[in-house]
């Protein structure tokens, strides 16, 4: 464990259980970042995870920024920053999904 930032202290978030080795873990991390980057802008948020420092950087358009460790914290922080939760069943996603199905 890193003495400065405490990472990794927890056994890992449940969403990270799908990767067996270091390579897969890195790949999963990039994939997670890719999905977040497509989802969050709809709420005026951006995510960055370059896999260099531990954690995901979340920022608002006004420049507010936090670093979080896992997806649970992503959604909790996102709700705090924008005042409501990011909802996968939000009409904006369902609408986009429908458009993609048609195309």
């Amino acid at each position: 464990m890193c003495a400065n930032c405490g990472n990794p202290a927890a056994p890992g978030h449940w969403t990270e259980a799908g990767a067996a080795g270091p390579g897969e873990r890195l790949r999963a991390r990039f994939r997670r970042s890719q999905v977040l980057k497509s989802v969050l802008p709809a709420y005026g948020l951006t995510a960055h995870d370059g896999a260099i420092i531990p954690g995901i950087q979340l920022s608002t358009l006004s420049g507010q920024e936090v670093i979080v460790q896992n997806l649970e914290e992503v959604w909790a922080e996102a709700e705090r920053m924008i005042g409501r939760p990011v909802d996968p069943l939000d009409p904006r996603f369902l609408g986009a999904a429908q458009e993609r199905e048609v195309a």
Binding site: W14, G18, R31, R32, Q34, V35, E72, W75, P88
Partner: protein, 320 residues
């Protein structure tokens, strides 16, 4: 993780006051089920009674005077930690404790107990909840479901419901109770018991479920189960992003998620109780249990549309 599940399995046995939990467990112990298990009994009353009844079990801990999901939580955590400690001191070549059966008090919400274990930094590494069994009183079950929010919560969260006292109630009541339970918790298996011994489950098909009054305002909509097939286009990571967001935003509506997912790390048994997701259990290879459907997730809840779940998941999985 090295691909082998080494955590102890915990079976939670719940049910309303007087629903027949101890009788059922006593009978199961008598027949040698849970023989290798350490039994932990929690009683809300100060004076323990159940320990006398459960003399058959090989090892028993009694936590009296406080319900384990609220004021007795610290005691429960301490007792479980002690079991973990003892197990860790056993050489791995000797036989180690593999299973714990926790009989909750009649006032406990099994969901809160699962949550407490999940939140404990030590227990999360040592214990995995394998099944939530809830006993339902065949005689008084209907009225409890109608009037007690707790009784209803217990029934909603179960993996397996055992309807007890089948001989004491008339068949119509039992059929109605079975239909009501099916309506409340479509994902759970329903079994029956008389004096603790297993009997064929009550059949509620074709029977109208009881009209349960609204107990908390927003709970009016019925609970339904949705099966989501995860085909090859859905990868674990995108699925995780989607489900974690869904549970964060709609944890009050999505009560239970369960399923087996194939990932590069092996077959993972995923289960959540309300907002809490247990760290997935790694299952052995699939050849042993062909009946188990892999890559299918069951979502149980209310207040959303099933096709929206599917559409939204596919959208998340297709993001590049």
């Amino acid at each position: 993780m090295d691909g082998v599940e080494t955590r102890m399995r915990l079976t939670v046995l719940g049910g309303f006051l007087g629903s027949g939990k101890t009788t059922w467990l006593r009978h199961q112990l008598h027949h040698g089920r849970f023989r290798d298990a350490h039994v932990v009994v929690n009683e809300a009353a100060e004076t323990p009674v159940d320990d006398v009844l459960l003399g058959k079990s090989s090892a028993l801990t009694v936590l009296a005077g406080g319900c384990a999901c609220c004021e007795g939580r610290a005691d429960l955590i301490a007792a479980l930690r002690k079991l973990c400690d003892e197990r860790s001191r056993t050489f791995s070549s000797e036989s180690r404790l593999q299973r714990i059966v926790l009989e909750t008090s009649g006032l406990a919400d099994p969901g809160a107990i699962v949550e407490a274990i999940r939140a404990d930094a030590m227990l999360i590494h040592h214990i995995v909840v394998s099944e939530i069994i809830v006993a339902v009183d065949g005689l008084n079950g209907l009225s409890q479901l109608a009037s007690e929010p707790l009784g209803r919560r217990q029934a909603e969260i179960a993996d397996r419901l055992v309807v007890t006292k089948l001989d004491a109630a008339d068949p119509e009541t039992i059929a109605r109770l079975a239909a009501t339970l099916k309506h409340l918790n479509p994902g759970a298996a329903i079994g029956g018991a008389i004096n603790g011994s297993d009997v064929p489950p009550p059949d509620g098909t074709g029977v109208e479920p009881a009209d349960l009054p609204d107990l908390s305002g927003e709970r009016a909509a019925p609970i339904f189960a949705t099966r989501l097939a995860l085909d090859e286009t859905v990868d674990w990571t995108a699925f995780g992003v989607w489900l974690s967001a869904l549970l964060h935003a709609r944890g009050d509506q999505v009560m239970r998620v369960k399923g087996v997912v194939r990932t590069p790390a092996g077959r993972l048994l995923l289960q959540s109780v309300r907002k809490i997701v247990q760290s997935p259990e790694i299952l052995p290879g699939q050849d042993d249990d062909a009946s188990r459907e892999d890559d299918t997730i069951v979502v149980i809840g209310r207040g959303y549309r099933a096709e929206d779940l599917r559409r939204s998941l596919n959208y998340f999985a297709g993001l590049r």
